[in-house]
């Protein structure tokens, strides 16, 4: 039997238990709702406008840098597994790979794109 069956079972149990807790609370809890209770919380004062907030592009830049590094690191995992048996050539390759990656980081940094403000 594949070990993924157990992962599937874990996902199932991981769903069942929180759902069970929330359903139990839903059964037990009082349900006396009114429009005031349902207003959006904003420190007790009247809600101003809708929840639309303009985000700045910086969020995107950080997510972008993260994405690139994430993919690169994933590439390195098979390399790391086999490092002991592959010898010096593989080590040099991995270091070249990381250095190319660092060039990108240095560029972003030097251009001032890693600044939050």
């Amino acid at each position: 039997m594949s070990s993924w069956v157990y992962i599937g079972l874990f996902l199932l149990v991981g769903l069942i238990i929180p759902v069970g807790a929330i359903v139990a609370a839903w059964v037990l809890a009082p349900k006396k709702s009114n429009p005031i209770k349902q207003t959006t919380y904003e420190c007790g004062i009247e809600t101003v406008g809708d929840s639309w907030v303009q985000f700045k592009a910086q969020y995107y830049i950080f997510a972008l840098v993260f994405l690139i590094f994430d993919v690169e690191t994933v590439f390195l995992f098979p390399w790391a597994v086999k490092l002991n048996s592959l010898g010096m050539f593989a080590v040099i390759e991995g270091i070249v790979f990381i250095l190319i990656l660092i060039v990108g980081l240095v560029y972003t940094w030097r251009k001032g794109m890693l600044e939050w403000v």
Binding site: A57, L64, L67, I68, D70, V71, V74, F75
Partner: protein, 102 residues
């Protein structure tokens, strides 16, 4: 055991849905979502061919990993362009971005 043809038909369906999204959506980001579906269907094919061919030959998985990298590069540049266009033209509707038309 699941026959190989099921995987291939599944990935063909996924590819076609993605193609429909790319051809018919107006929003640029939605078009990119369709492209993601198409790339995923390719990966399903590669993994299925690896499993049903010679499993010691890992080429299918190597290709799939490269597809991940290409997808990451594609989506990062694509969305950056969308954001840049949105900043200049204040729209993300593909039909309205017609600067090159005239």
């Amino acid at each position: 055991m699941v026959p190989l043809s099921w995987y291939l038909i599944f990935s063909a369906a996924l590819f076609s849905i993605g193609l429909f999204g790319v051809l018919s959506r107006r929003n640029l980001i939605a078009i990119l979502l369709g492209i993601e579906l198409m790339l995923n269907s390719v990966n399903v094919n590669l993994a299925a061919f690896w499993r049903y061919g010679d499993v010691t030959n890992i080429t299918g998985q190597v290709f799939a990993v490269i597809v991940f990298a290409v997808a990451a590069a594609e989506v990062s540049v694509g969305l950056a362009l969308v954001i840049s266009v949105y900043r200049k033209r204040n729209t993300v509707i593909a039909d309205e971005i017609d600067m090159l038309k005239f």
